[in-house]
């Protein structure tokens, strides 16, 4: 019972102090932007101490009551709810100060996924942007953000969205052509860039030709394309296999400039096959020419 009464008394004191603060010796702005200069007016006479207590930051000033207390640009830079306390010379007042993020975006955190996307895929690329001010405060007020994908072939796709509670996300289509695309997010004067590699599918047709070169057979594939006509990336491994007289020779050749080329020993009646990954190509029976 005694504890409950004590709590009630403290609450009443706080409430009365706050009410006094609103109309008494302490006059503070209710809301400012992070980093902006501001001042707090006081009334009365004598010395006092002014505390401003907030997230990750505490300011303390010894003041003369009746003066205006000024704070410079950048003195309060973390967004959040602050408590102002004026104490001393028979004064004990509090007030609240809301510090909001600066309205100008200064930094974007841009998450773009995936870093490699298959070509021509609907909603295949996602981007998420968090908008921050100079002091790394998340700007909670709605903010227009432009997303733009610039393809290697020159085509662009643009989407304009607005942030909600400091974040905006978008899904965009990958281009029908392969290559590195630049994925840009712009808010105000700030732009962030990510690179999305748009990759072709498996080869649609894998076909090789063979010709004689002395004791060797020169094997070369036709340029490898996926079913949309995109060149399969260089470096893709193509395996040539030659079977003859119960033996076989194989070689893993990387694609260079869209074709894979190698030489294998010429054996009369040898059967030569080609494959890449799980895609099989044509077979050649070597007749010696």
């Amino acid at each position: 019972m005694r504890t409950r009464l004590t709590c009630l008394f403290v609450l009443l004191c706080l409430a009365s102090t706050c009410m006094l603060g609103a109309s008494g010796a302490l006059q503070a702005p209710g809301r400012i932007e992070a980093g902006n200069p501001f001042s707090i007016a006081t009334s009365g006479s004598g010395k006092a101490v002014l505390y401003i207590v907030g997230p990750q930051q505490v300011l303390k000033r010894e003041i003369q009551l009746g003066d205006n207390v000024s704070f410079d640009r950048g003195d309060l830079h973390n967004a959040g709810l602050y408590l102002i306390v004026l104490a001393g010379s028979g004064v004990n007042e509090t007030a609240q100060l809301q510090v909001v993020a600066h309205h100008q975006p200064a930094e974007l955190s841009f998450l773009a996924k995936p870093s490699r996307a298959p070509v021509d895929q609907r909603d295949g690329i996602s981007g998420v942007v968090y908008v921050f001010d100079t002091f790394q405060n998340l700007i909670l007020q709605p903010m227009p953000v432009e997303f733009r994908i610039s393809e290697a072939s020159g085509g662009t796709e643009t989407r304009n969205e607005s942030t909600h509670n400091g974040v905006v996300w978008v899904r965009m289509n990958s281009a029908p052509k392969s290559g590195a695309a630049q994925f840009l997010a712009t808010a105000g004067a700030v732009t962030e860039k990510r690179v999305i590699q748009q990759i072709p599918g498996d080869p649609c047709h894998l076909r090789m030709t063979a010709k004689s070169s002395g004791q060797q057979i020169v094997l070369e594939t036709e340029p490898l394309r996926d079913c949309s006509g995109n060149a399969v990336p260089d470096g893709t491994i193509v395996t040539f296999t030659e079977s003859y007289n119960g033996k076989q020779s194989t070689v893993d050749v990387p694609l260079k400039r869209d074709v894979a080329k190698t030489e294998l020993p010429a054996h009369e009646g040898a059967v030569i096959s080609v494959a890449t990954g799980v895609v099989m190509g044509n077979e050649i029976r070597w007749g010696g020419k």
């Binding site: 870093s115 490699r116 990510r194 590699q197 260089d234 893709t236 491994i237 893993d252 990387p254």
Partner: protein, 375 residues
């Protein structure tokens, strides 16, 4: 009193064991120890002559070994050294003679033939160097005629290569938290099954890099009991080709010892891949692959380096399939000599004798190490 007696006994036994080890050392200790030539036995028999030469080689005393040969006038000491250690950096450069076997093939009053098998220990395991040695008698002393293997020399030339490699820009320390690294390559297990073998469980399978970038891959697996408890966890270690170029397939084998397949309810397999900077060269052709049947079942062939870069160490992995196309075994071996451009180097992958009859098809892949870079 008892303590003093015990101390005296220990000292006496130690002195006795040291004396026994010095007077009658085991062959591997003899090969390892740098003892002086006075410990070599007199070459009064073909076997003793061969043992002396091999022990000198094992001690890396190539000068003494060369001096004791019967045919040293046929080649120089540097040529003999290149035969033993190789010209280019390879597994032969820094091995230790683990042990050796001597098998007489033929014996006569003036001449004998002996097969010497030297088991060299390297960082990737043991490799055998087999030499059929002729031993001749001269002035009452037996001397070895060394069959010199001359490493082929590649003539000076320029081999044009359209060099292809991938470089990766990773996330930097100054990047904000939204800047994520380029994602890992997508790899897929295209085949996997466990078998009960040799008192343990062996997981066999194949892994495909289905991405367009090179991948460094590992495969880890756990055997799970019916209650979900992990009985054991192992990885493929070197029974896999760790660097996979786009659309390349590697076999893998994971050995679990002392576990029966009947204990296993399921397998949790975790292929992992990470993006690496890699090169598409050198290209290695694997020529004349063929299966050898009993009594020494193996898969043999030759590696031919189609690029201009010297390959110092080549790892050869063989995937063996049955007539239904299922993997029945994965085996591997290392080539102990450097693979020079356009110069065939033989390899041989052992096959378990009991599986050799099941094998109807095979696939061989290599991964290479060059002193300047991987792949």
């Amino acid at each position: 009193m008892t303590a003093r007696l015990l101390a005296i006994s220990i000292i006496a036994v130690t002195i006795l064991l040291v004396a026994v080890g010095t007077i009658w050392p085991v062959p591997s200790a003899r090969a390892m120890a740098a003892y002086s030539p006075r410990f070599l036995r007199p070459s009064s028999s073909p076997q003793a002559a061969v043992q002396n030469v091999i022990e000198q080689i094992g001690r890396h005393d190539l000068h003494a070994a060369y001096e004791s040969l019967a045919n040293k006038n046929e080649f120089t000491e540097p040529e003999f050294s290149r035969d033993i250690r190789g010209t280019y950096f390879s597994l032969r450069s820094y091995p230790t003679l683990d042990s050796f076997d001597i098998r007489p093939l033929h014996a006569g009053p003036e001449e004998a033939s002996i097969r010497a098998i030297m088991h060299w220990a390297t960082v990737v395991g043991i490799f055998d160097d087999v030499r059929d040695l002729r031993v001749t008698r001269s002035a009452g002393k037996w001397e070895v005629v060394w069959p010199l293997v001359k490493e082929p020399r590649v003539p000076p030339q320029v081999i044009p290569v359209n060099y292809l490699r991938w470089d990766v820009i990773y996330r930097g320390p100054e990047d904000d938290w939204g800047t994520s690294d380029v994602e890992s390559p997508h790899v897929r297990i295209v085949d996997m099954h466990p078998i009960d073998r040799g008192g343990g469980v062996v997981l066999l399978g194949e892994l495909l890099n289905e991405d367009v970038v090179p991948a460094y891959v590992t495969v880890k697996a756990s055997l799970l009991a019916p209650n979900g408890f992990a009985l054991a966890t192992e990885d493929a270690f070197d029974k896999i080709s760790h660097i996979l170029l786009p659309k390349q397939v590697t076999p893998f084998r994971i050995d679990f010892r002392n576990i029966r397949l009947s204990q296993v309810d399921s397998v949790r397999i975790q292929p992992a891949s990470s993006l690496i900077a890699a090169s598409a060269d050198p290209v290695i052709e694997i020529q004349d692959q063929s299966l050898l049947s009993l009594p020494d079942p193996s898969l043999k062939g030759q590696l031919v380096n189609q690029s201009g870069q010297v390959v110092n160490i080549a790892h050869v992995l063989g995937t063996l399939y049955d007539n239904k196309g299922q993997v029945v075994w994965v085996s591997d071996s290392y080539v102990n000599r450097a693979v020079l451009p356009e110069t065939p180097v033989p390899f041989r992958i052992p096959i378990p004798a009991d599986l050799s009859a099941k094998v109807s098809n095979f696939r061989v892949v290599t991964s290479t190490y060059s002193s300047s870079r991987f792949q």
